[in-house]
């Protein structure tokens, strides 16, 4: 199972999906596009703990985190 974690005022909302399920994968890609279109940043991490920002949907990503656009405080 793969997961998309969206940070929000409730802490976060988690969307689990089976990457081998074509429909679930399409829905996850749609969610990715919608969130990044709204200004969310998407990031994935490697097993060694390195983090990278992603600009397009990666169907092989096991865990993607989304956070809202940054603002100066």
């Amino acid at each position: 199972m793969a997961i998309q974690i969206v940070m929000d005022h409730t802490g976060d909302t988690r969307h689990h999906f089976n990457p081998e399920d074509v429909q679930a994968l399409a829905k996850a890609e749609e969610r990715f596009k919608k969130l990044t279109g709204l200004g969310f940043t998407a990031a994935v991490r490697t097993a060694s703990g390195e983090v990278s920002k992603v600009q397009s949907f990666d169907p092989n990503a096991e865990e993607t985190v989304f956070f809202p656009r940054l603002v100066g405080g």
């Binding site: 005022h9 802490g11 200004g39 990031a43 991490r45 985190v65 100066g72 405080g73």
Partner: protein, 136 residues
């Protein structure tokens, strides 16, 4: 007996209010804890050890190689540090919306490690007055 019967609705209202308060407090604790757990999961092993030890962790900017220390919080909690680990400059940037501390700290870490220039362009600067170098 009469007095007891009259007070029953008030007691029920009190219990209901108490239940709502309990749920709210529990919800806050839960989302706060979940945010911290998510952040901790995404830290590198070194950063996780720092956070467990001091409640702060350091990140290295992807463009400049500068070091930053992230304290627990949602704003005014990021500092550029010098080679000795002394606080040099405060940087205030945070994700939009009312996020919990763990989420904000994770977003700040990801921003500095993957798009340092972008984060610095947004951040407001402040002097690290009143903040000691003592971690946590």
């Amino acid at each position: 007996m009469f007095r007891f019967q009259r007070s029953l609705p008030a007691v029920r209202t009190g219990i209901h209010a108490l239940r709502q308060l309990y749920r709210k407090v529990l919800g806050e604790i839960t989302k706060d804890a979940r945010g911290l757990q998510l952040m901790r999961d995404w830290l590198s092993p070194d950063q996780r050890a720092q956070f467990d030890d001091s409640g702060t962790f350091e990140v290295v900017g992807c463009h400049s190689g500068k070091r930053y220390r992230i304290y627990r919080g949602t704003a005014q909690n990021v500092f550029e540090i010098d080679e000795a680990g002394e606080l040099k400059l405060g940087l205030c940037f945070t994700p939009y919306g009312n996020l919990v501390a763990g989420d904000a700290m994770l977003a700040q870490k990801i921003a500095l490690e993957t798009d340092e220039s972008g984060a610095l362009a947004i951040a407001n600067r402040f002097l690290p007055r009143g903040r000691t170098n003592a971690h946590g």
